[in-house]
Symmetry: C2
Subunit: 340 residues, 2 copies
């Protein structure tokens, strides 16, 4: 398979991106290839002649002279910067020249680029971003975390469909329990869209739907898949990041006040925990619903994250997740509700 990587995207690009790509090579198959997209001269000089020669068969460089900055307005950037690494990369995918696209750059631009250039899977209305939360009780897949902030009931249903396929075949969870984010467990709770979405999901007997879940349930092992609109999902994702960081800051402060020796003993445990429950373990978030495999990595991604992203995408591709989603979509009788 052909894996295209945005070499210029992210806070630590291009160094960490290239390092992650190189690290992944030994875990790839013989007929896999990496396409490094970005400023060719920069990439070549960073890789060095030795690497270029050593991995000549696995590496291809595609020149893209422009860079989309992290804080540029997404859609405008995609339209204007046609020679940026993101634009060139999504075009490769659209033209059937790349099977997988990965970027740690401007998330909005990357998602917009994928949506504008790669088509949706047949029968799918709107793509959604799925992120995996590694909790004490097991991994929870949440969709959508930012692609679609104006969700219709059918979008929720399709997010449930896609995320459960992902949960089953990538995370190995048999018959994943699907919950919809709301503000109380009872059926009567939630806004109108959520209530309609719930009815739609309920009407599909193939889904293991458990109904409403609350914010706390994500970490209580109550569900394997959590469905929400992109606004709520994005707040949840960012809040989780901020809260975990904030809490570790508090713990560090308190332990250091107690005793420096205790702090030193606690440090390796904290590091281990960080690794174990780090969602970078999965590389990033997948944009479910586009024709192809697209993974959004965090802007702060280092080489390990990029390597993991490549390996997760390879699994996504090998497991034919998109084929499975397409099959499910073609057989379901659940259709969009007419909205006045």
């Amino acid at each position: 398979m052909r894996i295209a990587i945005d070499a210029m995207g992210g806070d630590h690009a291009p160094d960490e991106i290239l390092e992650g790509a190189i690290e992944s090579i030994k875990q790839l198959d013989k007929d896999d290839s990496l396409i490094l997209v970005g400023q060719a001269e920069v990439i070549e000089s960073k890789l060095g002649a030795k690497n270029l020669k050593k991995y000549a068969e696995s590496l291809k460089i595609v020149n893209a002279p422009e860079i989309i900055d992290m804080d540029e307005a997404p859609i405008e950037a995609i339209r204007k910067k046609r020679h940026s690494s993101i634009s060139v990369m999504v075009k490769l995918a659209a033209d059937g020249q790349a099977d997988i696209v990965i970027s740690a750059g401007n998330t909005g631009a990357f998602v917009a680029g994928c949506q504008m250039r790669m088509r949706n899977i047949e029968g799918l209305n709107r793509p959604g971003i799925a992120v995996v939360f590694p909790t004490f009780e097991g991994p929870v897949t949440m969709c959508d975390v930012g692609a679609n902030i104006a969700c219709k009931p059918i979008n929720f249903y399709q997010y449930a469909l896609m995320a459960s396929v992902y949960s089953k075949h990538i995370l190995g969870i048999d018959n994943p329990r699907i919950g919809i984010m709301s503000i109380g467990e009872e059926d009567a709770k939630g806004n109108e869209i959520v209530k309609k979405a719930r009815e739609l999901i309920k009407s599909d007997p193939k889904m293991n739907f458990i109904g409403n879940i609350e914010g706390s349930d994500i970490f209580k092992g109550k569900c394997d898949v959590a469905i929400c609109d992109g606004f709520v999902g994005n707040v949840v994702l960012k809040l989780t990041e901020g809260l975990v960081d904030g809490l570790f800051k508090v713990i560090k402060h308190e332990i250091m006040q107690e005793s420096m020796r205790l702090a030193l003993k606690f440090k390796p445990i904290m590091m281990r925990m960080y690794q174990k429950y780090d969602y970078n373990e999965y590389g990033g978030a997948v944009l479910l619903g586009v024709n192809g495999t697209a993974m959004i990595c965090h802007g702060s991604s280092k080489s390990r994250t990029i390597k993991n992203a490549i390996l997760t995408c390879k699994e996504f591709y090998n497991q034919k997740i998109n084929e499975k989603i397409k099959d499910y979509l073609s057989t379901t009788t659940v259709k969009e509700i007419d909205e006045q």
Copy 2:
């Protein structure tokens, strides 16, 4: 002042509720009185003759034979159970016989009861629930966390107004920085309602408005007040609870795997942290915007929380927060946007 407490509401009612009430008495003023609302016989027998005699001047019992269960449908419960502790209590406030109402019972029923029986502050469209997050960088007041899931722009503006008055006069934060929860820092980010709300808040030069904030910013010391609709706020509140619990579970597990001795050393630090950053410190969440002082306590509240709730409410009343909100509302020129 007259402080009415729902003696029957909460997982640990009536014992912990009554204990908290008794504990608060020594910090109250001479002319303050506690009104314990609930099944009179039960309250009397739990308090015992000794307490009843000792605190005869500070305690009053109002009989309310019915109980609204924690999982009853709120509005129906309020309508049907007119002799429940919640119904009787909010009626006392509506009739001017109680200045403060506090309940750890069914949140939905209590909020619905307050909204149905006590009127809104003059000029206020919809009440909102404000909760204080004690973060490493200082307390952050978030409003709304569940009273209003279908917010109009004017509601967001008024939540900003009320929460900043609260932040200033209860938490002592001068000129609090107000942010609106969205999914990116740039002005263009957010859904339509949030964008309109932002314009409305911006149009008031008296507000220290910093624009969009993301989920992570709450714990980064970026704002003192965070505004959102009740759906998003409720998800945030519950997620925070669940994540903190989940994270401490992980830490405990990892430390115990390392060494039992280390775990024992870490325990008191964890307990201290729990106390320091426990939002029960503030007693509960205030329902801002109703005529009177209403505080919603967590269902799991123990005596300490109830005592803190009583003291926070006393401060709210003494600081004349509602008068200050009313004054602000009467002078602002910001009005509702006409919506097609």
